[in-house]
Amino acid sequence: MKNMLDENKPIFLQIKEQIEDSIINDSLKPDDRVPSTNELAAYYKINPATAAKGINELVTESILVKRRGVGMFVTENAKNILIEKRKESFYQNYVLPLKDEAGKLHISKKELLEMVEREDEQN
C-alpha cells in the first residue's frame, strides 16, 4: 500500500488501483480479506464514502466479493480478470505516451526497438 494518495486524481480510483496492485503482486490472494472502508478511510484520512465507491466498483467487476457481516474478500478469479484488464490499458497508458515522446525527440522506430532490446539484455 502506498503511504500517500495523489490529490490530483480521483481518490476512489486510487483506492481501487491500490487494491488491484496488491492482488496482481500477490500481496492479496484469493479468499484474503481486504481492508474495510473504515480501515481505508482511517489509513488515508479520506472520506469513507469515497473509499466505499472504490471498493464497490471492485465488487461490480467481480474482483471482490462481499460476505455479509464479515467483510470484503478477493475472488478466485480476481488476478486473471485484472491482468486481462491491465493488458487492454497497457497500450493506451504506456505504449502511446512512449511513442509520443519518442516522436518529439525524433527517435526512430528502429532506435526505439533497439532501446527496448538493450534493456532486455542488461537485465
Binding site: E7, N8, K9, P10, A42, N47, P48
Partner: protein
C-alpha cells in the same frame, strides 16, 4: 438533516457579507466550506447556528428557522476559531454546560479526548494556551455529537501533530455516527481528501458547489503551445489561465483524457489550487 439556504443576504452597514446566496445541504456528509478572507463563510455559519439574523432571505433546517429556536439549535454545534467559552470557566465546567445544552452529548468521549489532548479538567479557560483552547473547542464539537456540527477554523495554534489527531478522530467519529459536518478552513491541502462535497464562497456569493471526487475528475490544468491550448479551450469553461514563453496553461472544466486526445498535457488540480484560481479573478 436538510439545510435550505434561500436568497440569503446579510448586510453589515453598507457592506454585504452575503449576497443572495442559495443552496441546499443534505445528508450525513462532510462538507468543505472554502473561500478567501471576507468571503462570507463565518457570517453564513453564524446565521446557520442561529447566532445572528439574516438581512434578507432565510435558512431553513428541516423546514424551520434556527434563530431563537432552542429545539433546533440543540442539534447544531458551531465551534469557531476562538472565544468559544467564557474565560473564567474551568474546563470541566465548559464540558458540563455543553452536556446540558446538547441532548446528544457524549461525556465518555469528551473525557477520552481531554486525555488525548492532555488538558487539565481544573484549568480555567483563560490560562489555556491558544492551541489548548482550540483543542477544547474540538473536543466540545466532537463530543456534542450534534447532527449538524460546524467547525470554523477550529485549529488556530494547534501544531501539525495535534491537527492530524483531530482529522483522525473526526473521521472515526464520523464513521461511528454519521452526521453532517461542515468544515471551514484555510488549510485545504490537509483536509481536502475528507470532504465529500465542496462549497466555495467568493465576495458573498456561492461560486461552486460540487462533489469533491467530481472536481478531481472534471477539472484539469492543460498545458501546451499557446495556439493549441487556445483552440482546445475555445468552447470550454475556463477558470483561469497563464502563459509564459509561448506556452499556456489553462485551468478548465474538462477531463484529462479529452486534453490528452488533443495531444496536450493535462494534470489534475488540487482543491486548494482550484479555489485560488476560482477566487482570484476579481482583484487579488
Amino acid at each position: 438533516m436538510k439545510i435550505e439556504v434561500k436568497n440569503l443576504t446579510r448586510k453589515y452597514g453598507q457592506n454585504k457579507a452575503l449576497q443572495n446566496v442559495s443552496f441546499t445541504l443534505e445528508g450525513q456528509k462532510i462538507y468543505g466550506l472554502l473561500g478567501r478572507n471576507g468571503a462570507g463563510k463565518t457570517t453564513f455559519m453564524d446565521i446557520l447556528a442561529g447566532n445572528i439574523l439574516s438581512s434578507e432571505g432565510e435558512i431553513l433546517i428541516n423546514g424551520e428557522k434556527p434563530f431563537d429556536n432552542r429545539k433546533l439549535t440543540e442539534s447544531i454545534c458551531l465551534i469557531k476559531e476562538g472565544n468559544n467559552f467564557k474565560r473564567d470557566l474551568k474546563v470541566k465546567n465548559v464540558l458540563k454546560i455543553y452536556s446540558y445544552f446538547y441532548p446528544t452529548w457524549d461525556q465518555e468521549l469528551a473525557e477520552d479526548l481531554i486525555k488525548v489532548y492532555g488538558l487539565n479538567m481544573n484549568a480555567k479557560v483563560k490560562t489555556l494556551s491558544k492551541g489548548m483552547e482550540s483543542s477544547l473547542g474540538i473536543i466540545a464539537g466532537l463530543a456534542s455529537k450534534a447532527p449538524i456540527t460546524i467547525f470554523d477554523e477550529p485549529y488556530i495554534g494547534l501544531d501539525a501533530a495535534a491537527r492530524k489527531k483531530f482529522y483522525e478522530i473526526l473521521l472515526e467519529e464520523y464513521e461511528e455516527e454519521n452526521r453532517m459536518i461542515i468544515l471551514s478552513t484555510h488549510l485545504i491541502d490537509e483536509v481536502s481528501l475528507m470532504f465529500e462535497e465542496v462549497l466555495i464562497l467568493q465576495e458573498g456569493r456561492l461560486v461552486l458547489q460540487e462533489e469533491a471526487e467530481n472536481l478531481r475528475s472534471n477539472t484539469c490544468a492543460v498545458t501546451g503551445k499557446k495556439e493549441e491550448v487556445e483552440a482546445f479551450i475555445e468552447n470550454k469553461q475556463v477558470i483561469d489561465k497563464k502563459e509564459l514563453a509561448g506556452m499556456m496553461t489553462a485551468y478548465i472544466y474538462g477531463t484529462k483524457q479529452e486534453a490528452h486526445s488533443y495531444g496536450l498535457q493535462a494534470e489534475g488540480i488540487p482543491i486548494q489550487e482550484l479555489m485560488i484560481h476560482l477566487t482570484q479573478k476579481e482583484g487579488a
